[in-house]
């Protein structure tokens, strides 16, 4: 299951990040790390991008980028 599949209000724990190179580094620099809890807040009105909270702040990313972030749902 990846981050783009979560619905608003659902949260997941990051299990792996398949992105490579600059994208991966950028995600990591923004605190998107394995083991981190990430909660989907909103989907943009046109369906993309999405807004998540991670490390106590709000981050938006496109679904394409969210697809590379594997999560397991946490209740």
């Amino acid at each position: 299951m990846n981050l783009s599949m979560l619905k608003p209000g659902e949260a997941g724990k990051i299990t792996s990040i398949s992105a490579i190179g600059p994208l991966k580094r950028r995600l990591m620099d923004m605190g998107v790390l394995v083991g981190e809890i990430v909660k989907v807040e909103k989907v943009a009105p046109l369906g993309d991008p999405i807004e998540v909270t991670i490390k106590n702040y709000n981050l938006s990313l496109r679904k394409k980028e969210a697809e590379g972030i594997e999560v397991e749902v946490v209740k």
């Binding site: 990040i17 600059p22 994208l23 991966k24 580094r25 950028r26 995600l27 990591m28 620099d29 923004m30 605190g31 790390l33 394995v34 807040e41 909103k42 989907v43 943009a44 009105p45 046109l46 369906g47 993309d48 991008p49 807004e51 490390k55 106590n56 702040y57 709000n58 981050l59 938006s60 990313l61 496109r62 980028e65």
Partner: protein, 744 residues
């Protein structure tokens, strides 16, 4: 200016130190949205100088000032989340820190978002430069009920931590005082080494000693610990810089060893490690209240980013920004224009007449120079207004939301969500729109947006449409004009897709963007940014524009004394170009010359046509107003401009009604021009001509804006070539296609 030098001379002499005359170089680093610019504005105020980092389009702010008899130079680094080498901003910040070796780094940390901010802090500490942390937005953290143990933080990091509230100028004195203390005694202010996992420490230590023995010059040039970490990470930027292969056996072995035992790429491991440190630190020093209040930002976003309301709210906000930018600045632009073409011109004529200057110098001074200056100045109000609203949108946090809402749409043509705002402003005037591309961080997004802006039909093209539509399509005027706007937008989409696949081939930049909390922008910051931009435009762009308008004056009027415009240089150019326009249906020198003159601004196409087709009635000898009358006129019309500007704000909200007054002479002049045009064009060629005016080359001011914003003529060159080609092809298709289906 190196640190060692400073330490040495400080040792030599404690009292009257010659080094104290030298500026203390202070680099200011921090995350975006950490209130860094506000802090700098609060410290430096109007002493701030805005320029660009060499070779790039990223803004560089510096300020030199005195504090307790010491000279301090602040250098604002671009806001970054990290010092990794992937964005332009990160590379600039890090190259500056590593190569210029400032005396002190102020690290601006957002107290409400400690963990992510400390991630950057940890990287800064590795550079071996004294750091002082400005724990900014401290008031908001307190309001949230956060308790931050500053003493503990100072102890754990080995650096001074000063709580600051930049918007209230609180903590700034303490910050400056800390800087002077650090400079007086740098040795005891070197940050602590934070410990990585044992394996990394061992690996770094062996790389350090390897570098020291094998490449002693590198050991001197770079902060060693930082350098070793970069080699371990396999940092391409550093490797390139020192011309060292990634496969340097010694380092390769160590990297392989780390990979084997940790099973991931080292860069990620290091990022993980740093975040682990940041997280550990945060846990130690920060106590949060048990229950979390629902915050204002959350409440606002529930409405502003709502599935149904999100887009209407966005569109309403954009409409407001557009209206305010152009309506508020409009009356002032008109006032300036009237002043310069009225009283100033009259005064110059009087003075030159008084000293019996030859007629051509009078014409050069008034029609060339004064008209040119006026031409530059009328842009200033709109640049000010644009800068004010753009800075407001950014500072308030709404810019990120606008990007969030629009990204899906803009991404389809290879742009970024934030591209929408500059594109929209393009409908008012392309010039501020091109300057507004500064909201885009990525150079690719920025360049692509700027290339497409000229296809947005700006206000200067409207007068051309009005004349032609009035002559040929009086009953469908609205529809025809509307079709031209739609044509521009459609072609922008088409060109966006083409550019994406050609000029900007390759991976599109990622969209990973923070949605910062809403904050009220700091008024002083707004004013400083607005002022700086306006001033910059006036001085830098103004010079170019003036030069070009003088050249055009020569073209129009030389050889001096030509009776027939056909014999002027402009007329001759028109005659040369006309055959190229023949397949488009308007291959006449009059049309061609008007198009050439449109280089200055597209509305001049109409003016030039008027001059060529409708020779002016002999100027009525009007009574020249006296100096006092002129001055009175300047004053009263300024007051009425201010009134109009304010009235326009209300009319934006639909309260006041706007009545545009047009003198009967203007109407008459336009009617006589229309009569001639009706004979020279057909409805089909008129439409082809309007399309050509919409699409062909950006005007000279837009060209200079492109040059200013990108530091190179490259993008203007590309815009010129593709727009000319596009204009020709589209007009060709309209004319030839129309003839085939029998419209000719």
């Amino acid at each position: 200016m190196s640190l060692e030098l400073k330490i040495q001379s400080l040792k030599l002499n404690e009292g009257e130190n010659p080094v104290r005359k030298k500026a203390i170089i202070v680099a200011v680093a921090g995350n975006p949205n950490s209130g860094k610019s506000t802090l700098i504005n609060a410290i430096a105020g109007t002493r701030l100088q805005v320029g660009n980092w060499p070779g790039v389009t990223v803004e560089k702010k510096t300020a030199v000032f005195e504090y307790e008899g010491r000279k301090i130079k602040l250098v604002d680094l671009p806001g970054t989340y990290s010092l990794s080498p992937y964005t332009q901003e990160e590379i600039i910040a890090r190259d500056y820190l590593v190569h210029e070796k400032p005396d002190v780094i102020i690290d601006v940390v957002d107290a409400t978002n400690l963990e992510r901010n400390l991630y950057l802090t940890i990287q800064l500490l590795e550079l071996g430069i004294p750091v002082v942390i400005a724990l900014n937005i401290y008031d908001e953290a307190m309001k949230k009920g956060y308790k931050i143990d500053i003493k503990a933080m100072e102890k754990m990091l080995g650096v001074r931590v000063i709580p600051t509230i930049a918007t209230k100028k609180s903590g700034l004195k303490e910050l400056l005082k800390a800087i002077t203390e650090i400079v007086d005694n740098p040795a005891i202010h070197i940050p602590k080494r934070l410990h990585y996992e044992e394996d990394f420490e061992l690996a770094a230590a062996s790389v350090e000693s390897y570098i020291k023995t094998t490449y002693p010059h590198l050991a001197e040039k770079y902060p060693l610990r930082w350098f070793s970490f970069k080699l371990l990470e396999g940092d391409q930027h550093v490797l390139q810089e020192i011309n060292l292969s990634e496969n340097e056996t010694f380092i390769k072995d160590i990297r392989e060893h780390l990979k084997r035992s940790h099973g991931d790429d080292i860069e990620s491991l290091m990022a993980d490690e740093r975040y682990a440190q940041a997280s550990g630190l945060t846990h130690e020093v920060l106590k949060k209240p048990e229950t979390r209040k629902i915050e204002m930002t959350e409440k606002i976003d529930r409405i502003v980013l709502n599935r149904f309301f999100g887009i209407p709210i966005f569109l309403a906000a954009m409409w407001l920004v557009f209206k305010l930018t152009f309506d508020v600045s409009g009356p002032f632009a008109d006032w300036l224009d009237a002043m310069i073409t009225g009283p100033f011109k009259r005064w110059a004529e009087t003075i030159l007449g008084f000293i019996h200057a030859p007629e051509w110098t009078v014409s050069l001074a008034t029609d060339g120079i004064i008209a040119g200056v006026g031409f530059v100045i009328v842009f200033v109000p709109v640049i000010f207004a644009m800068m004010f609203f753009i800075t407001f949108l950014e500072g308030s946090g709404y810019m990120a939301r606008a990007a969030f809402v629009m990204d899906r749409l803009m991404h389809a043509i290879g742009l970024h969500g934030k591209s929408f705002i500059p594109m929209l402003l393009g409908f008012g005037c392309n010039v501020p729109a091109i300057y507004a591309t500064r909201v885009l961080e990525n150079p690719r997004d920025k360049a692509l947006t700027a290339l497409l802006i000229p296809l947005m039909s700006c206000g200067a093209r409207l007068p051309v449409y009005v004349v032609f539509v009035g002559a040929f399509f009086p009953h469908n005027a609205g529809t025809v004009i509307w079709s031209l706007y739609v044509m521009g937008i459609s072609l922008a989409i088409l060109m966006g897709v083409i550019f994406k696949k050609t000029l900007f081939k390759g991976e599109a930049p990622v969209f990973i963007m923070e949605l910062p909390p809403y904050r009220m922008p700091y008024f002083r910051s707004l004013m400083i940014h607005t002022w700086e931009k306006g001033k910059h435009f006036l001085i830098k762009a103004g010079t170019y524009i003036l030069a070009v308008s003088i050249i055009v004056w020569f073209l129009l009027n030389l050889p001096w004394g030509v009776e027939n415009k056909r014999d002027s240089y402009l007329g001759k150019m028109g005659q040369v170009i006309a055959p190229v326009l023949e397949p488009l249906g308007f291959g006449k020198w009059e049309a061609a010359s008007s198009l050439v003159a449109g280089l200055i601004a597209k509305e001049i196409v109409v003016g030039t046509m008027g001059e060529i087709y409708v020779p002016k009635l002999e100027d009525k000898k009007e009574e020249k107003p006296s100096l006092t009358e002129d001055l009175k006129e300047i004053g009263t019309s300024l007051v009425s401009a201010a009134k109009d500007s304010i009235a326009n704000i209300f009319s934006t909200f639909g309260i006041a009604s706007l009545s545009s007054e047009e003198s009967p002479e203007m109407k008459e002049e336009r009617e006589s021009l229309r009569n001639v045009i009706r004979k020279q064009f057909t409805p089909l060629t008129a439409y082809a001509f309007m399309s050509f005016v919409l699409l062909y080359m950006p005007c000279v001011v837009a060209a200079i804006a492109l040059r200013q914003e990108f530091g190179t003529w490259k993008w203007y060159g590309i815009a010129f070539v593709y727009q000319m080609a596009l204009a020709w092809i589209v007009a060709f298709m309209i004319y030839q296609g129309g003839k085939i289906i029998g419209l000719g």
